[in-house]
């Protein structure tokens, strides 16, 4: 009897180890630790990377930034863009075994709109009501037409969570999130790791070849790369551009990059408090001169090892929304000097605040020397980020260097920055004509109409220039050679559908 027992135990143990040995475990190094893992409350970029594996959304975004089906299989606009009807995918389960249906969608959207801690309220501000019209159909009725809604539903606002779990955990949902994505939550140790495992009832499970994913926040890019090289990690995000050549020449690693949808820019204080009263803030000719004095291509080549591209609009030149009639200007010091002269200056003193990261400092020192040739005496004031943000919102600056991670819908890169009442309008630029164009672009679901509005706004903004765009960085990933099937997407997310790992 004892012998039988020990044999059975040995067999069971053997089977268990064999299973473990065969399980595919993917370890991903992230730049930061995520905040609360609740799609309604979260605000970090890395949090979105984790959700990509854990929480499916109503719609997703393809590498060419088109909205594609995910939990919703099809959708249609009606009543002049005021009603959005979505058909849901049948037979979808949440990680807790409950069914994802129209009621769950309604409950999630209601939660996003009403939870006091929700950060999705402004993203869903246009939604008047949402209702289940059948078990697999939902209807969004809007207060006014809003073409950006689909893009919002392709991100956290559209991540459908289990109503049962949301009800049980309330604002503490992030401690044990339950969604309908390919991987389910296992554990989290703050600042150390987030562990997910394959969800066996995932609707698209045939496309999932990884059994367990572990996300490890490692802020230092050198250490992150060292972990990949030593084999402790399989995959890393936001590789430093300076490391790109080393990865490309390493036979054990694979390199991937894509120009992102964000931008690098300089804010000019044109109307934010007393400090707007400075030469560059008051005279658009000086801002145009500043822009013309910068050699954007050289700048991107030097600082970002050629992985970034120069830019002069909120959208990268590769974007469908970029106004091709206003190409990235070539450096023209003579013209810049002429503009400065026309503005009545010989030398223009200007103070610029910059975040104290090495890459930004290097970038701005190059800009400083470039514009000096045209006649700008730039004093760089390097501050830590929280201070910079505070000074920027309060208007305590002349020029300020800022990044934007970008949004899928063009509206997210422009409206909140450049309309009079925009939430992120720290330059306090206000032009009713621009407001009108950007509002109209937001309201139309016809891409051709939107394009025309954005182009018209681009012309005005290129002349007024409250923000001087410098360029667009790339997302850079590196992975072990054995990791295949990853598709780089300009939104910077790591989608694990189709990703395989050998060895």
């Amino acid at each position: 009897m004892n012998r039988i027992l020990s044999w059975t135990t040995a067999l069971a143990f053997g089977a268990l180890t064999a299973f473990q040995a065969g399980a595919v475990d993917l370890r991903i190094g992230l730049q930061d630790d995520a905040d609360a893992l609740d799609p309604a409350q979260s605000r970090t970029f890395v949090g979105r990377i984790v959700y990509t594996a854990m929480c499916d959304k109503l719609v997703d975004v393809s590498p060419d930034l088109k909205i594609i089906p995910q939990l919703a299989t099809e959708w249609a606009w009606s009543e002049g863009g005021k009603v959005l009807t979505m058909k849901l995918r049948p037979n979808v389960k949440f990680h807790d075994g409950t069914t994802m249906d129209a009621d769950a969608v309604v409950a999630t959207i209601q939660r996003n709109l009403t939870l006091p801690e929700s950060r999705r309220k402004s993203e869903l501000a246009s939604v008047d009501k949402v209702e289940a019209t059948s078990p697999l159909e939902v209807k969004f009725t809007l207060k006014k037409p809003d073409a950006t809604l689909l893009a919002q539903l392709s991100d956290r606002a559209g991540m459908i969570v289990s109503p049962k779990a949301a009800k049980e955990l309330g604002a503490n949902f992030g401690s044990k999130p339950v969604c309908a994505g390919p991987f389910k939550f296992v554990e989290r140790v703050q600042q150390d790791r987030i562990v997910l495992e394959k969800f066996q009832d995932y609707w698209n499970k045939d496309q999932i070849f990884i059994d367990k994913v572990t996300y490890l926040p490692i802020p230092d890019s050198t250490v992150r790369l060292a972990n990949l090289q030593s084999g402790d990690l399989d995959f890393i995000e936001r590789v430093a551009p300076t490391d790109a050549p080393a990865i490309k020449s390493n036979p054990k690693l694979t390199y991937a990059d894509v120009v992102n949808i964000g931008n690098l820019s300089i804010y000019v204080n044109v109307g934010n408090g007393a400090k707007a009263n400075n030469p560059v803030g008051k005279d658009k000719r000086l801002r145009q001169a500043f822009s013309l004095a910068i050699d954007r291509e050289a700048l991107m080549q030097i600082v970002f090892e050629g992985t970034a591209v120069g830019g002069n609009q909120p959208f990268p030149p590769s974007s469908a929304w970029y106004d091709k009639a206003i190409p990235v200007p070539a450096r023209d010091v003579a013209k810049a000097k002429a503009l400065i002269k026309a503005a009545g200056f010989d030398r223009v003193p200007v103070e610029m605040q910059i975040p104290n990261s090495p890459v930004v400092q290097q970038t701005m020192q190059i800009v400083q020397s470039m514009v000096a040739e045209a006649g700008f005496d730039v004093t760089l004031k390097s501050t830590e980020f929280a201070t910079l943000l505070d000074e920027q919102t309060r208007g305590n600056y002349q020029m300020s260097r800022s990044d934007w991670s970008g949004r899928v819908d063009p509206d997210g890169n422009i409206h909140q920055f450049l309309t009079c009442k925009g939430g992120l309008n720290d330059t306090k630029y206000c032009n009713p004509e621009v407001d009108k164009l950007l509002d109209e672009a937001r309201a139309s679901t016809d891409d051709a109409v939107r394009q025309q509005k954005y182009d018209a706004a681009a012309v005005i903004l290129n002349d007024d220039m409250p923000m001087i765009f410098l360029g667009h960085q790339s997302w850079i990933w590196a992975m072990k050679k054995g990791v295949t099937g990853f598709v780089a997407n300009p939104d910077g997310m790591i989608r694990l559908q189709g990703v395989k790992k050998q060895g």
Binding site: T44, S122, Q191, P217, D220, N227, S230, G423
Partner: protein, 315 residues
């Protein structure tokens, strides 16, 4: 002795109170709005206002302090703005990690620093002394972050012997835990070892030239007995004081070391908290550190008395 300890602990209360006022005011003097820093790219004014209200950030600063102090009295250090977790819970999670790192670093420092100091003193002005002194000087001069990165590149990337970073609890997987901690503990202990070596050496030199050592030698005691039993015990007194003071340096060093090796301990917690203006966490961590510092000094004083019988009379 218990009376002495009791007195010392009583004195610690006003010290901690002063530190708390100091840290609280300093934080409020920092530019930057915690709610804005936390919001990042999503600055919905309504949500920001709600958070300001929720965390009482609109109240006058003295009132915020009194409220915080009231919480401390009942063991509540507040809620982290960034992670929504209670600060006491965060500290309870992170403190053991840093203690493990600190203890291992101290072990490295003692094992390397003290023997090296004794040998250097005994072999004064010989090649051994010079080599030990040069090594100690290098240990003091090499910055933590540089040594850390170099070790990662050599030991993890090139040789593949140890994990480059990360952490595992010693109770979950002791082997992995030691593997991940060896390099950071060495980096952190290295500079301390150098300081310890220098002080042990000079203390030993002082003792070795004392009259009673000459007498001991004259009595015919073996050199080993003279050095270890008679000299070292007396030379240990200043070293004990120094070790307690080094504890402060250890925590400061841990901030940097934890960043390099991505160890989720106290150091990383406070750096993240400062950058995000997570006031409650900064305050909690600083108070906890101050308390640790006071306790370490108390322990050093007790050890002092135990090591030196002459001091017992003065209690």
């Amino acid at each position: 002795m218990p009376v002495y300890i009791g007195k010392r602990l009583l004195v610690a209360i006003p010290t901690l109170l002063i530190i708390s006022i100091f840290v609280f005011s300093l934080q409020k003097l920092l530019p930057g709005d915690p709610v804005l820093a936390m919001a990042g790219e999503e600055r919905d004014p309504a949500v920001l206002e709600l958070l300001r209200e929720k965390y009482h950030l609109n109240d006058p600063i003295p009132l915020q302090y009194v409220r915080w102090l009231g919480g401390v009295m009942t063991g509540d250090l507040g809620i982290s703005l960034r992670t929504n977790q209670p600060v006491t819970q965060l500290i309870a999670e992170k403190l053991p990690v840093t203690i493990q790192l600190a203890v291992m670093a101290m072990i490295f420092a003692f094992v390397i620093g003290i023997p090296a100091g004794i040998i250097a003193a005994v072999k004064k002005n010989t090649v051994i002394d010079y080599v030990a002194s040069i090594l100690a000087l290098s240990g003091l001069s090499v910055p933590n972050f540089w040594l850390g990165i170099m070790l990662i590149l050599l030991v993890s990337v090139k040789l593949g012997w140890l994990p480059a970073s990360g952490y595992e609890s010693i109770f979950v997987d002791p082997v992995r835990s030691l593997q991940t901690m060896v390099m950071p503990a060495f980096v952190l202990g290295n500079a301390l070892a150098a300081t310890l070596m220098r002080h042990t050496r000079s203390a030993m030199l002082g003792v070795l030239s004392a009259d009673y050592i000459r007498t001991a030698r004259a009595k015919g005691l073996s050199p080993k007995d003279v050095v270890l039993s008679h000299s070292f015990r007396n030379a240990l007194l200043p070293v004990v004081t120094l070790s307690a003071l080094l504890f402060g340096e250890l925590l400061a060093g841990a901030v940097l070391t934890e960043q390099i090796f991505t160890i989720p301990g106290f150091g990383k917690l406070i750096v993240d908290a400062v950058f995000n203006r997570d006031y409650a966490v900064v305050q909690g961590v600083v108070m906890c550190t101050a308390l640790g510092f006071i306790l370490m000094n108390l322990i050093a004083d007790i050890l002092y008395v135990l090591l030196n019988p002459r001091l017992r009379a003065s209690l």
